[in-house]
Symmetry: C3
Subunit: 363 residues, 3 copies
């Protein structure tokens, strides 16, 4: 029985819905399969959107993703081995080329050429490898979200990851919601003035964007300390973006209103949150905190790594607690919504409509 | 998915039934939420009848029980904090007064006054705090079972507790059944003469009472040793009472037929068993062994604590083994009943009828 | 809820089917309950085909198998005790003779003579005790598979066992399949010549037999090393037999084509695989590697024990990985079959038809 069947099947879509952890996952989307450095000549396996995937590189270095299940007797292919670019099953030695086609079955006098293992489209944009778990005909590389700052030499990133018992809907809701900052992250992000500044919300297709501009105010520590401008007044322009079910970006521009002689006025931070559902109730989560200044400053690295880890761990704890409550509670609860939940509700409506469309529903 | 769904829903009541671990729990009843000392200014959570409850005290010391789930985004409120008498959610800072009404939502310009979290009626009778998980309109304080001996200075108690993987039906059956004493508790309770003495059974409404009188016989060690009358002949009068789904009391009166000069003739023991289902297959269990003599005798305390713990642990083991057998067995078994099971069957019929009535069935 | 309900009930048989891990278990069959030495005056319990069984010996040494669940209050009888040949329940002292009939219920003035606990037919063929979990009217001792070599003084055996998270269908398939030898067991069994030798397959009723003859070739290490004939040319005659759902035997005869003076020409190995499903997804597995030469040679014992343990552990790992993949995978897969899978498919068809017949289906 599939672990996904923890969620009651079949799911019936109704008009006017908002996604939650029971909604089928959006599959027609580029998700992260892993960091570039995780995928190598040593085959690894990872569960992505409920499917076990084996990941490896060809001799030429191309990342390959195949279903981690031999089509003959369901042996996990990641337990097999690579011979050149050929993936050899560990049970009967069935051989697959990088396109998934069987090129030899040792126990057979002729090659069963119609045999194959499913492969998944992958695209590498270092330091990330993206995968498409949905309809392969829709796997357009042009849809891979831009993350140029992660490899741009004019930017410097610190990074980390979590394996969470949560759902991607709640995770995206958390990222689009800044009203929790003073309560869940009292030590790190969010100042009272910021929480009160006007929030603008807009949709661009399936993308939900919020932005704020806070003028002539003290910077929060997480930006002001690494920039070394805690005693200054700044303009703070920020944008958070549900770019896709797989990625949320948060960009901040801090403008020192009276820069010291010889110092820059503008400090930029690009935060990248990458979310791949493992199942409907667990996710792989990678984060990057990138800046365009003090590129070689180990103290800034350490400060931003520590502060990010602390804040994201608070989010991880909260989201895991919530899913545990929701799943084990005896009585169903229909959560209340308030005006500040609007960005999250736009995101949840979009996820719901995309999942329904993939399932062939017209809402 | 709720853990309660381990039990196949929906349950259909049929006439003539006896409760077992699959029968819905009786909710209209005062159950123990915890010991008085467990509930403080530090919020705790406890699962009671399948519902997570957050427990704390106001500044004035009043115990408060609220559903451990914020109505906004299901954050467990026990992970929040108290500011005075206000419970503050740890996610978005939503504030609730002790009646459960929202008194502030920081992200909103006005208070969403129609928002609230469910609270549960509680009554403190030290050293116990009782809670009503059913229809609040029926939560009559007059229905709280009497346990005055637990706080009466003329009595002294030793106490303990267990978290058990068993069901409250089997637990009450075990407590109403004395024919297991010589087999499950060979070292502690039950003498052969006692087992053979006449048992009287009666019902008073939903209460099931059994009593026995054994005249002019040797006392069992568990009573005779702390009283210091092991060499005497005694009359032994005992009553055991299924007082409610939450409490079983066992009272014993030992009468020394030839008391030594200057010594009392009557020794009384009141045993209190308090049972709160956590789910249909796990329970919180607290016990008290109270006596009306040697109130300051540390040896008597130690003896009664050790003997009780040993005997109740034997019951806990047996009941856990049984539920494990019942739940994992491939084939259903309809247990045989014998004449000595009558008190337990009266209790099980009562539980069944109460559960059916709460579910709106007329049997 | 029964653990067996992990498999979706009810199972519907369709014509043309092949058993897999979801097919109901064949119950009308002698299975191993345990080794003779495991069953003693100390009662043990073991789950066999989804049913908890208590196993003990009478004073006369006869092995007895009873359902591990008292018919009165479901107490596990293996937690009780033996008084002579009487099994006494540990809860209320209910007493059962070796036939399962109640001979005393201490709390009752008369014996409830119609009360009994289910017993299972058992037959001891040292070093094994066989049990029949199906219809007792069909439990014909003549159906106990022959394993005389396990107790014959002209044979010597080494042995081991595993508790596996796999299903008996996949286990039997693995045993009937020799094409995996070079890939899963590269160090131990299977030479390239052997893999290419002609395989004969035949059915005799429900028995599936494969055999091979490889002439004038080098022996594989697992046979040649203990026989001390690694430098010789041999004829190798081998037969593997799905003898029943409970037992697979593999017999090998190695004939030294030029035996040294005074040495034997024929070396025989009988491998016995004994498989009892614990549930549909876990099995008890015992193996014996028996030989008819060097009976007192400790080095041969050690070599064969080590080599067998290594090879079978490779099988155990593979089968456990496969079942984990099959059970947790989000998408159903219909495994491809190739010509060399024929023996396994005959076995799977036979298991399917036997299970259907037991369930009353006519396919």
């Amino acid at each position: 029985m599939s672990e996904l069947m923890e969620i009651e099947p079949p799911f019936v879509f109704e008009s006017g819905g908002f996604a939650d952890h029971t909604t089928p996952l959006v599959r027609d989307c580029w998700y992260i399969a892993g960091r570039s450095g995780e995928i190598s000549r040593n085959i690894i396996s990872r569960r992505l959107l409920g499917v076990d995937v084996a990941l490896y590189r060809t001799l030429a270095g191309e990342p390959i993703a195949v279903r981690n299940r031999c089509p003959h007797r369901s042996f996990p292919l990641a337990k097999g081995k690579l011979v050149g670019d050929i993936l050899v099953c560990g049970y009967h030695g069935m051989q697959f080329d990088p396109s998934g086609h069987c090129v030899n079955m040792p126990s057979m006098p002729i090659v069963p050429t119609n045999a194959s293992v499913r492969t998944f489209p992958v695209v590498e944009r270092a330091p990330l490898v993206w995968i498409w778990m949905g309809d392969p005909d829709k796997a357009d590389e042009a849809l891979v979200p831009g993350t140029h700052w992660l490899s741009d030499p004019l930017w410097k990133s610190v990074t980390g990851d979590f394996h969470m018992q949560s759902d991607y809907v709640s995770m995206h809701e958390n990222l689009l919601d800044q009203t929790h900052f003073p309560f869940l992250h009292p030590g790190t992000v969010g100042t009272p003035e910021y929480a009160r500044s006007k929030l603008n919300v807009r949709e661009e297709g399936d993308v939900v964007i919020i932005d704020r501009a806070l003028r002539n105010s003290a910077p929060p520590g997480i930006y002001g300390i690494p920039a070394g401008i805690m005693d200054k007044k700044v303009d703070r322009l920020s944008e958070a973006r549900f770019a896709s079910p797989a990625i949320h970006t948060a960009f901040a521009k801090i403008i020192d209103l009276a820069p010291d002689a010889g110092k820059q006025a503008e400090y930029r931070f690009n935060i990248t949150h990458l979310i791949t559902p493992e199942t409907q109730t667990s996710i792989h989560y990678w984060w990057f905190n990138s800046r365009n200044f003090k590129l070689d400053d180990a103290d800034a690295d350490q400060f931003l790594s520590d502060a990010s880890t602390q804040a994201y761990l608070e989010d991880v704890d909260a989201l895991q607690w919530i899913l545990e409550v929701v799943r084990k509670d005896h009585e169903k609860q229909f959560d209340l919504n308030f005006a500040p939940d609007k960005p999250a509700l736009l995101m949840r409506r979009s996820l719901y409509h995309r999942a329904a469309a993939e399932a062939g529903y017209r809402l």
